[in-house]
Subunit: 341 residues, 2 copies
């Protein structure tokens, strides 16, 4: 075990060739003769050579890594997306850097620094709720082409993005409830200002309109995607004079909180009211009752995001690049929805 790791010079010496040849053998073997290749490989084995990435990164002007930005690291919703991103990146020899927008902001760092200081070649942002000035700084940077939004996006801005079919999902949800016989359907929304919340709410209202269903304004309950907001929404529902027979929640967490709170007040799902969510998180299946939901393919979403970004990183002049991708969702029917009483 040598303490000093060996360099390309050591390999060159051991193989009796120049460093250029070693480098070529390792990164572009086709242009090197068989005999030389053999010698170099042997020398690599002998010396235990590992390429020094810092040196390569400096010389190639590439960090060989991508930054993923989450609104909040502690939110389990993102873990599968990360898995998808990571899979694609590591298959291309790239590493995945992670940070939370909150934290970066709090520490006085600027997001764009990651690109400007050559720490990352591109970034995937999973947070549509960035401050306007931050978004502007991202837009005006020369490397703005290397920024991609996944899952969420920024309304009115033209960043490349990958998202789930929020409209189609909402369509499927409302129609599922409709076809069960529900005619009075409520909606619990995500947080005000969140693009997903708005997209789903708008789609909900459009869909209910298309089916010519009654929709009282108090049947659209403002929430924030969390369990706690689901509990609050349940209290609101309970207090209604004219209660909808079905509730479509903008997230599974909302739906689970909703059901939990109802249960504390001795309402039974789906007997007293049908409830469904959006996302199909792991717990949706195990909850009692198990939750009808719209499944987002978070793994695919992550993989798509990574592959779109890699395409941009590797094609220098942005020719024929995909600008937006939409990942399909599917309706998963479980126990929490049933025909109205």
């Amino acid at each position: 075990m040598t303490l000093k790791t060996s360099t390309i010079q050591d390999v060159a010496r051991a193989a009796g060739v120049s460093t250029a040849t070693v480098s070529r053998t390792l990164s572009n073997p086709d242009i090197v003769s068989e005999l030389t290749k053999f010698r170099v490989y042997e020398a690599v084995k002998l010396t235990g050579y590992r390429i020094n990435r810092a040196a390569r990164n400096l010389r190639t002007q590439r960090a060989h890594s991508v930054l993923v930005l989450l609104p909040d690291l502690a939110n389990p919703f993102f873990s599968s997306i990360l898995e998808g991103i990571s899979r694609h990146l590591s298959s291309k020899g790239y590493s995945m850097l992670i940070a939370s927008t909150k934290q970066v902001h709090g520490s006085g760092e600027r997001l764009i620094d990651y690109l400007d200081d050559a720490r990352a070649d591109g970034m995937i942002i999973l947070d549509g709720g960035l401050d306007a000035d931050v978004v502007e700084s991202l837009e005006n940077n020369p490397k703005t082409k290397l920024i991609l939004f996944a899952c969420e996006w920024v309304e009115g801005k033209d960043f490349p993005s990958v998202r789930s079919e929020n409209g189609n999902g909402t369509h499927a949800a409302v129609n599922h409830l409709y076809s069960l016989g529900h005619r009075k359907i409520a909606h619990v929304t995500g947080p005000k200002g969140n693009v997903l919340a708005h997209a789903r709410k708008d789609a909900f209202i459009a869909e209910v309109g298309a089916l010519k269903l009654e929709l009282k304004s108090e049947w659209v309950i403002i929430g924030d995607f969390s369990l706690a907001a689901g509990c609050e929404a349940a209290k609101v529902w309970i207090a209604l004079d004219d209660r909808p027979t079905a509730v479509f929640c903008a997230s599974d967490q909302l739906a689970l909180g909703f059901i939990a709170e109802l249960s504390r007040h001795h309402f039974k799902v789906p007997y007293d009211v049908s409830v469904m969510g959006f996302d199909d998180i792991d717990f949706a299946e195990q909850f009692i009752p198990s939750l009808t939901s719209i499944r987002q393919d978070r793994l695919l979403l992550g993989e798509t995001a990574a592959s779109m970004l890699m395409e941009r990183i590797e094609s220098p002049d942005g020719t024929s690049q995909h600008h937006a991708a939409v990942v399909p969702v599917s309706l998963i029917i479980r126990e929490s929805t049933a025909p109205p009483r």
Copy 2:
């Protein structure tokens, strides 16, 4: 918006000083005169200079980043730990690289490469279930001092580590059930071969022995930390002739699956049986019934791990380093436990 980012040379020129002075101003301002400092800062502003990390990393022989290895990226259990790690790292100007042991292994890469090729200065491993040959390669590397296990660890090996008080937690759990009046207590374990599962099981058996409680061998049910295993364990419990009145599960997911399955068979928790978990994940509070559990402070665990590792990275010769840390746990009493009928 210049396309080419400016270098330290540009700043030096703009400030009318040498690159050495610019570098000193930025990294060691105390030794530079006030006037020069002012000039350099102005020049930095003027040029929009951002340090190039690749160049610095090469010159300083530091990656200024740490690798965190998870067994499985899609497991939400780890997200708070990551948050804790990330907080500490970014406060020190370090970045967080993430990979999953599965994936690294699958791609034919070796874990130790991250250290050997200067991609990371150290690593935090959250997976005690590495293959023996992988562990050996980590042990025999000259940089082995820069590897730290968090949460889980490898039995019989002497890597630095941070973990929760698994013994104390188990003690608190069993005594909570005992003090409610339970005398027949079952345990659903984590997966065979997992260090946490073993630690908790051993502590459970010891504790039950200390209280001189009866313990039939079929009251220790082998699980694997998952919701699904919890369901299976419930079926086993139902089939017992002599059913324990309380069940201590080695994870919250197990406990929730256990309760869900019982409910499908019309058993009521805590009326028919008390159930508790370990971890205190977010859902524990919202589940119906809400779950009594042992809370692990995952944020603190992450922060502690990061700070121990940073200490090792920054002290070159390993003087007076902490080798192991234990993070306290606490008993959170909720609805899923009650006196036996």
